[in-house]
């Protein structure tokens, strides 16, 4: 690394001041740009979304009010995302640990590479794969769940005959979020100072104890950040859900295996946008605003948890 050996001459000190000033200003201006961008988007959303309050029930999919519509959609969005995160959390931690700590290098590298690639698969392709491969494969599982766990409100049935339910959509969402979450997790795990790990091992810790004592606490904030990014993708995902989910209109349904699925906001926008009249567009943008707020609340909570629980190594 760079090391300055001698006392710098005077003009270099001046240069350094200018350098510092320029650099910090540039950084500050960039940060302020974020505010400008966001203000633009927010103003735009509000102007275009507020006329939605004038909408009549037949522009609201027969829901009584705008709030009832948005509420039902929020329910579906959260439901699908919860399913996705229930799957993503254990899998991404496992996958991240395998790549960073368990697998030998010659396996870990190609696997990490493969996972990165999957982040680029367009959601349309995830949707196609979901319809062609995943839904038929998961359909028997739907029937099994209804037969054996039917006493739970989630598996009330009747099971969908095509498997294109919010459960399948959740699995697709999980797979879409998985590459992003895993890629960050593994970087975070790999950042654990080597000295900590070796100290733990030298003290006779097993591998799991070493991970529990050094890797996980050190990476906690990063892990939460990774999961949040994944959740962000799951919440806002449009095309894959619109294609995989067999949802019509807007209903609130706890049942995750029936074909009468709850719909998600993003898919609702995608499905309705094409043929929308001006007021309907406002309704859709208003729904977008609701999604925006939901994602924000989730992010904010997550950020708060992350900063509260940081353990500095």
């Amino acid at each position: 690394m760079t090391a300055v050996r001698e006392e710098p001459p005077v003009q270099e000190v001046a240069g350094r001041r200018i350098g510092d000033a320029v650099f910090s200003r540039a950084a500050l201006v960039s940060s302020l740009l974020v505010i400008v961008f966001l203000a633009g988007v927010a103003v735009f959303l509000l102007i275009k979304g507020l006329p939605a309050f004038d909408a009549e029930p037949d522009q609201l999919n027969e829901r009584s009010s705008l709030w009832s519509l948005v509420g039902a959609l929020l329910f579906g969005t959260v439901l699908a995302s919860i399913i996705a995160m229930l799957i993503v959390t254990p899998l991404s931690i496992g996958l991240g640990l395998v790549i960073s700590h368990y697998a030998p290098r010659r396996i870990a590298r190609p696997v990490g590479f493969l996972v990165d690639l999957l982040a680029a698969v367009p959601s349309v392709v995830f949707g196609l794969w979901g319809i062609i491969v995943l839904a038929p494969y998961l359909q028997p599982m739907h029937e099994w769940l209804v037969d054996n766990l039917g006493w739970l409100p989630f598996f009330d049935g009747p099971a969908s005959t095509t498997g294109r339910t919010i459960l399948t959509a959740g699995v697709v969402l999980a797979l879409m979020a998985l590459p992003i979450v895993t890629a960050i997790m593994r970087e975070v795990f790999a950042q654990t100072p080597r000295a900590h790990e070796e100290a733990a091992l030298a003290l006779g810790a097993t591998r799991w104890e070493m991970i529990r004592m050094t890797v996980l606490p050190y990476g906690r904030s990063g892990m939460v950040a990774a999961l949040l990014l994944g959740l962000g993708r799951a919440l806002g995902e449009t095309m894959a859900v619109a294609m995989v989910l067999s949802a019509t209109g807007v209903v609130v349904n706890w049942d995750v295996v029936s074909s009468q699925s709850s719909n998600t906001i993003a898919a609702y926008i995608a499905l309705g946008y094409k043929e929308a009249s001006p007021i309907k567009v406002s309704v859709l943008i208003f729904a977008g605003l609701a999604l925006f707020l939901l994602t924000f609340v989730v992010n904010f909570l997550g950020r708060w948890i992350a900063t509260r629980g940081v353990v500095k190594g």
Partner: protein, 376 residues
């Protein structure tokens, strides 16, 4: 699979000191000093599979339940064996190792399935013509052309997005971590970055559309730069977050060592902090690029559709791979040419993945060139 880490002295570590106060290591004075044979995992696996298979044959199951039963047997039997022969701590370690690898396998099955589907369906479509021709003229009807126009469009739009988002994102993260730390403004910006993560992609498209409508005074702006702006909005929070997390993980000692040598702050950041975190930053940026390269909805609004190659990012619509895929989807059930379009879709998906793969490799090479040589 269960190669043990080095420097692990069997079960004799009874009096360890816990340096991180996250829970004491339980001393286990009664631990037998035994050790499982090297092939224990394999052995248990075979036995478990045999048990599952036997049940399967008797009850006439398919493959999935057999594997499930075998897995349950393995998860119970393997740590149990370890508990009997070794000690409790090693048994827990074996259990966790099994679970971690299970998560790995569970995650890889669908991902590999998806990859295989894309490659198997996409590879036959790839040909010289497919990569160098566009879909103008008769090809628009029968899908016999290629995706060169979409390829050019994707490159233009993604590069523009990256050119906007990466410098702004990296500088913002630098400011947040190195300059603004603890200030009120930093709090506000961190907050706003969080807000930005939630922008639905279609909203970014609507925003870019409205923006260029005003700037260009055209009722229907169609330009690749607009697509770049929309995508950069989506990239920015991902880039900032990723870079921020990586910068935070750079040990404070490095910075202090650099300052102590009289290196100015900006040079410390450029020469010490950023290079240390470069691998993570490159991953973050690549992921962000990968994420937006597959984005469809905002591009439909601002770059529109085109059947010819358009190299000019400032004027005229252009096709991109995702919008091409999305647009061609409606043609896959065409009574005459459906199959040709279906092939084109999978081919385009494969090409998109290959592009991102190339980007990934390039980024990694760049990253490793600039990264400081450390023990890792």
């Amino acid at each position: 699979m269960t190669s043990t880490p080095p420097a692990e002295p069997g079960g004799r570590a009874t009096d360890t000191i816990d340096p991180f106060s996250t829970g004491p290591l339980p001393p286990d004075p009664t631990a037998p000093a035994g050790r499982l044979p090297r092939l224990a995992a394999l052995l248990t696996g075979v036995v478990a599979l045999a048990a599952g298979g036997l049940l399967g044959v008797i009850l006439g199951w398919g493959v999935a339940p057999v594997v499930a039963v075998a897995w349950v047997v393995f998860v119970v039997a393997f740590p149990l064996w370890s508990l009997l022969v070794e000690n409790r701590r090693k048994a827990v370690d074996r259990l966790v190792t099994t679970l971690v690898w299970t998560a790995f396998v569970l995650a890889m099955i669908p991902l590999v399935s998806l990859m295989v589907t894309v490659v198997a369906k996409g590879a036959p479509a790839i040909s010289g013509n497919f990569l160098t021709a566009d879909m103008s003229g008769r090809a628009l009807l029968d899908g016999s052309g290629g995706i060169f126009h979409a390829l050019v469009g994707t490159l233009l739009v993604t590069v523009i997005a990256a050119v906007i988002a990466v410098p702004v994102g990296v500088l913002t993260a630098v400011w947040l971590v190195e300059y603004g730390k603890g200030t009120r403004l930093a709090g506000v910006i961190t907050f706003l970055v969080d807000v930005m993560t939630g922008i639905p992609s279609i909203v970014a498209g609507l925003f870019a559309f409205a923006f260029f409508q005003v700037v260009l005074a055209e009722p229907l702006p169609r330009l690749a730069v607009g697509g770049g702006v929309a995508l950069s909005l989506l990239m920015l929070p991902t880039v900032i977050r990723a870079v921020e997390e990586m910068l935070k993980l750079v040990p404070e000692d490095l910075r202090e060592a650099s300052y102590a040598l009289g290196v100015p702050k900006w040079r410390t950041i450029v020469k010490v902090v950023l290079p240390t975190a470069v691998a993570g930053i490159v991953t973050g940026v690549t992921l962000a690029v990968a994420r937006v390269a597959g984005e469809t909805a905002p591009l439909l609004l601002i770059v529109g559709t085109a059947y010819q190659t358009n190299w000019n990012p400032f004027d005229g619509g252009t096709a991109t791979l995702p919008t091409f895929i999305f647009g061609s989807l409606s043609k896959t059930s065409h009574f005459k040419y459906g199959d040709a379009w279906s092939d084109a879709i999978w081919g385009a998906a494969l090409v998109l993945i290959v592009i991102v793969m190339t980007l990934n490799v390039v980024a990694r090479v760049i990253g490793s060139v600039f990264a400081p040589k450390t023990g890792k």
